[in-house]
């Protein structure tokens, strides 16, 4: 039996001010699956991502990414090799003076040589449809280009698991369509936290509904998103495409 790419068991997270962000969340994601996490603002989607990539610490044994426990310090050091996170706001992620330097940031940190890093930059920028953008300044990219450059920075690390936090935020319709095509073509396991339910329908056969830190539903996307009562109970709306 293959090991799940992601395993979350009774995961709980409480912030230092006492606010409970996650409580008893359990699910598993098989290698190669593309799964959406939907829910209202403050549901705990970003907190879950931050726990999975080891940015937020917690009790050991509650999560595993490709067999690594993000709560264990020794595993946390290896996490950047297996899990990549694309943040909500690409300005948080694009901090280098040029796109090339930014995309190479991860590979250089994880031991790639300059030549390897340069090759990975070219590969990643081609993959996201930004060939030749290496010399550009991140600040001067458009919203869609920033998003794709941020994605390239993560893809250059060849992660087995990709966590995308609100990937279509700030994008115009064309940028959104391009992003959907790019993400669809990506290999590996993908977990996408979003409010964009049409994007979920396009990309994710399976959806998790998270609300107030609890996992409210886990099932096939079309079935869950068409459930009017479930959607309304958790502050969501049935996408136009699924309305009678």
């Amino acid at each position: 039996m293959t090991q799940p790419a992601l395993r979350v068991s009774s995961l709980a997270h409480r912030y230092s001010d006492g606010r409970v962000a996650l409580e008893g969340v359990s699910f598993a994601v098989e290698p190669g699956e593309c799964v959406a996490i939907v829910g209202p603002n403050g549901a705990g989607k970003t907190t879950l991502f931050m726990r999975l990539c080891g940015v937020l610490s917690g009790a050991p044994g509650q999560a595993s990414v490709c067999g690594l426990d993000p709560a264990v310090a020794a595993s946390r050091k290896k996490l950047p090799h297996v899990v990549g996170v694309v943040f909500q706001n690409p300005d948080d992620q694009l901090f280098s003076p040029t796109v090339e330097e930014d995309v190479a940031f991860g590979p250089l940190n994880t031991g790639a040589t300059v030549e390897e890093a340069k090759a990975r930059v070219v590969e990643a920028l081609n993959c996201v449809g930004l060939p030749g953008a290496g010399d550009r300044v991140p600040f001067q990219l458009s919203g869609g280009e920033k998003r794709r450059a941020a994605l390239a920075g993560v893809l250059a690390m060849h992660p087995a698991v990709l966590l995308l936090d609100e990937p279509s935020m700030f994008l115009d319709p064309r940028g959104r369509r391009e992003l959907i095509a790019t993400v669809r073509a990506l290999p590996g396991t993908k977990l996408i936290a979003t409010h964009d339910l049409d994007l979920v329908l396009d990309l994710c056969p399976r959806t998790l509904v998270l609300d107030a830190g609890h996992l409210a539903a886990d099932g096939p996307t079309e079935k869950l998103l068409a459930d009017i009562e479930l959607m309304e109970r958790h502050g969501l709306e049935v996408p136009y495409r699924l309305r009678g």
Binding site: P80, T98, E100
Partner: protein, 253 residues
């Protein structure tokens, strides 16, 4: 409002082609040498040298002049204060005594300040900042400091953009800067909001960096290659400044 923070392409010039490590080393040594000059004549020659380097840099006047003016503003007060505060020979203009020694000392400070300003503008204007900072790292400046400088530079733009948005939002609700209690309170709140957003942004950036394996070590793709011309330019600038220092200390003192 047009924000002053804008990325600017580096114009092609002999100084832009100069290896950033040699350029940084030569400029820093020249700055220390010029700062050590006491007399007006060598300081004036240093200023002339600074202007020659600015000409060679082919930097656009629209970029250069406002920045030179800032250096002028910083150095000029000495020219206006020292003649009236130092004693010695001089002239009487009505009830006021103008010291010859003070005038010369003020002019020397002005020349030194402007010469250093010219070198700083050459350094900043003839290479992208990240090249210069990477060169500083190659010259053994700690990587953490380089990383901090790069992040500060990068996020200055982001915070400036946020400030612009805040300002627009305030103006659309009828706010105009006035010297009233309400005006100061509103500006204080806006500044506070900017600081909070900055802190929030810093946390997110740190998280994004950790997610990509950042452990505090500075890595870069930028590679440098030394040519004979780089070393010759280094030697020429350093020799010129050493000659000025020797002239100042051995001949004129």
């Amino acid at each position: 409002m047009t924000l002053a923070l804008r990325y600017r392409p580096v114009p092609p010039s002999p100084l832009a082609r100069w290896d950033a490590r040699w350029k940084l080393a030569a400029t820093m040594l020249a700055v220390f040498g010029i700062a050590a000059l006491d007399h007006l004549a060598p300081a004036a020659v240093a200023l002339a040298l600074g202007f020659v380097l600015l000409l060679l840099s082919r930097l656009p006047r629209t970029w250069l002049l406002p920045r030179l003016f800032i250096f002028l503003l910083a150095a000029a007060p000495f020219l206006f204060v020292l003649p009236f505060t130092l004693g010695g020979d001089g002239w009487h203009v009505g009830p006021v005594h103008v010291s010859r020694r003070g005038l010369i000392a003020g002019a020397a400070v002005l020349c030194r300040g402007m010469a250093i300003g010219c070198l700083a503008l050459v350094l900043v204007g003839t290479a992208p900042l990240h090249h210069t900072l990477t060169a500083a790292h190659k010259l053994k400046l700690p990587g953490l400091l380089v990383q901090l400088a790069l992040l500060a530079y990068r996020y200055a733009f982001v915070l400036a953009e946020e400030f612009r948005r805040l300002r627009v939002a305030m103006r659309t609700r009828g706010f105009r800067v006035t010297a009233t209690r309400h005006g100061y309170r509103a500006l204080g709140h806006a500044t506070g909001a900017l600081l909070v957003r900055g802190a929030d942004r810093a946390e997110n950036v740190a998280a994004a960096m950790r997610c990509r394996g950042f452990d505090g070590t500075f890595h870069t793709l930028t590679a440098f290659r030394t040519r004979a011309a780089d070393m010759i330019a280094f030697a020429a600038l350093v020799a010129a400044v050493v000659a000025l220092v020797l002239w100042d200390r051995l001949v004129l003192s």
